[in-house]
Amino acid sequence: MRVLVAVKRVVDYNVKVRVKADGTGVDLANVKMSMNPFDEIACEEAVRLKEAGVATEVVAVSCGVTACQETLRSAMALGADRGILVESEAELQPLAVAKLLQAVVNKEAPQLVLLGKQAIDDDSNQVGQMLASLMGWPQATFASKVVIAGDKASVTREIDGGLETLELKLPAVVTSDLRLNEPRYAALPSIMKAKKKPLAVIKPSDLGVDVSPRLSTLKVAEPPKRSAGVRVPDVKQLVDKLRNEAKVLP
């Protein structure tokens, strides 16, 4: 079976972003960009399915600017067989991305689509669920374990109260949580090999998808700053402050 993985190019998770002075967004000039960490986990899972003989082909898809080709190369260095870039300079919101992926899924006919549960830039947590809905497929979000057996997937999910396991009919959408796996480091030979793997570039218009944004951002502001407080020398003074200064203890 074919597995499709969606990967997004985002600000690296180590970067502390700054809001632009004019309030139009965050400053992304000269900032390190990487594959969204959750997508890396999704990609690793797909590659492991192939290594286990469950998947026959892993196709990585990214939607966005030309530089997303680097993200696709990273996915191929992890082990994806080929890449598809849906190239667009426009701001792509989750609904638009879900529609683009739907069109790609209709062409590629995968049995499983793996995505990260959320992107660490807009923190939306939407695309996987939207794609499943548009396809009329079952979904398992926040996955920490995926087992494929025949035409079913058994997926353990991290939910607010603990864990739950679902059995889904394939084809299905699964979104990864942090503990699904620990992605490998791509070794140099894999990185070199990835450069030769096929990468197709298409446009939203080729897929007949209208990607116009539905939400307009009126402004982006800095959150209220917390200032550092005081160091207390010992436990006695800490408790005294909590009781008498902060008044958070009786």
């Binding site: 502390k16 700054r18 965050v26 989750p94 609904l95 879900a98 660490i120 830039d121 807009d122 923190d123 939306s124 947590n125 939407q126 669920q129 939207m130 809905s133 497929w137 079952p138 979904q139 979000t141 920490s144 991290e158 939910i159 607010d160 109260g161 603990g162 864990l163 739950e164 396991t165 679902l166 889904l168 009919k169 949580d177 942090l178 503990r179 539905r214 939400l215 307009s216 951002t217 009126l218 402004k219 982006v220 502001a221 800095e222 959150p223 917390r226 550092a228 407080g229 005081v230 160091r231 207390v232 436990v235 006695k236 800490l238 408790v239 402050k241 909590l242 902060a246 958070v248 203890l249």
Partner: protein, 310 residues
């Protein structure tokens, strides 16, 4: 303008995040209806009817809503959506699972994790792990929204809304619940607790996590939390994780013990009223947000603190 809140409940009681979501709905103005879907969940519907500000409760009672699966619930919400201008769900693992399915089928954007209602079409939401707050305006006819519970008070009691039974949708049969392993705890719910005691990688082991943190959490009647590193290492269950991609908390008092203060962790707790950090590294970033910092070995300081609390 009529708002539909999709209730998260356990069949008998509403989850606290549902009450915060009802408060967010009240900020929109207009009538508030609450949808309670489940199997044998009449008690939860009765509880929803008593929440202040609720004008009507819709009850969909059917066996295939028992497990709260996203596919069947989203289809049910869609069948009701035509009568509403706004659909609100809590930004919990329940709400995040369902809302995008509904929005996609309605061909509208979903607005995730709002922390403020500026107007009926304009909302504030955190992005980049809470390092920026975006004010966004929706041009869609129906607004599908998830609500960050810590940003809105819990709605009070005093309502007496009618409960109307509605027809259940079909069972789509796309997915089946095999089982749940829920963390059992007599402590307050993490996302709504007044005091949270969180342990990080500095705890060193699962044994130490409970040996050092249980007694202090008992004394403070606190919920327990953890950093991702502590959860990954198996010191604490997954649902204890506080942060950008875990739970968001805003207690009166947050104790960060053996936690360095990575941005992803801060995203989940920096709205606490008072933050206390215990860490042996004086340069740990957690001290930049802590109101009170105690530098030293947690294995000495935590027992002392527990004793001092009397």
């Amino acid at each position: 303008m009529t708002v539909l809140v999709i209730a998260e409940h356990d069949g008998a009681l509403l989850k606290s995040a549902t009450l915060n979501t009802i408060s967010a709905a009240a900020k929109l103005g207009g009538d508030i209806h609450v949808l309670v879907a489940g199997a044998g969940c009449g008690a939860a519907a009765a509880a929803a009817a008593q929440v202040a500000g609720v004008a009507k409760v819709l009850l969909a009672d059917a066996a295939h809503y028992q497990d709260q699966g996203a596919e069947n619930l989203a289809a049910l919400v869609l069948a009701q959506a035509g009568a509403y201008t706004h659909l609100l769900l809590p930004a919990t693992s329940f709400g995040k699972n369902i809302a995008p399915r509904v929005a996609a089928k309605l061909d509208v954007a979903q607005i995730s994790d709002i922390v403020s209602v500026e107007a009926a079409d304009t909302f504030v939401r955190p992005i980049y792990a809470g390092n920026a707050l975006a004010t966004v305006k929706s041009s869609d006819g129906v607004k599908v929204i998830t609500v960050r519970s810590t940003a809105f008070e819990a709605a009070g009691q005093g309502g007496s809304a009618p409960v109307e039974a509605i027809a259940a949708g079909p069972d789509l049969g796309l997915s089946r619940l095999v089982g749940r392993e829920l963390t059992k705890s007599a402590r307050p719910e993490l996302a709504a607790a007044k005091i949270v005691v969180s342990g990080g990688r500095g705890m060193g082991s699962a044994e130490n996590y409970s040996k050092f943190l249980d007694p202090i959490a008992d004394k403070l009647n606190a919920a327990l939390g953890a950093s991702r590193a502590a959860v990954d290492a198996g010191y604490a269950p997954n649902d204890y994780q506080v942060g950008q991609t875990g739970k968001i908390v805003a207690p009166q008092l947050y104790l960060a013990i053996g936690i360095s203060g990575a941005i992803q962790h801060l995203a989940g707790m920096k709205d606490a009223k008072v933050i206390v950090a215990i860490n042996k590294d004086p340069d740990a970033p957690i001290f930049q947000v802590a109101d009170y910092g105690l530098i030293g070995d947690l294995f000495q300081l935590v027992p002392q603190l527990t004793a001092e609390l009397g």
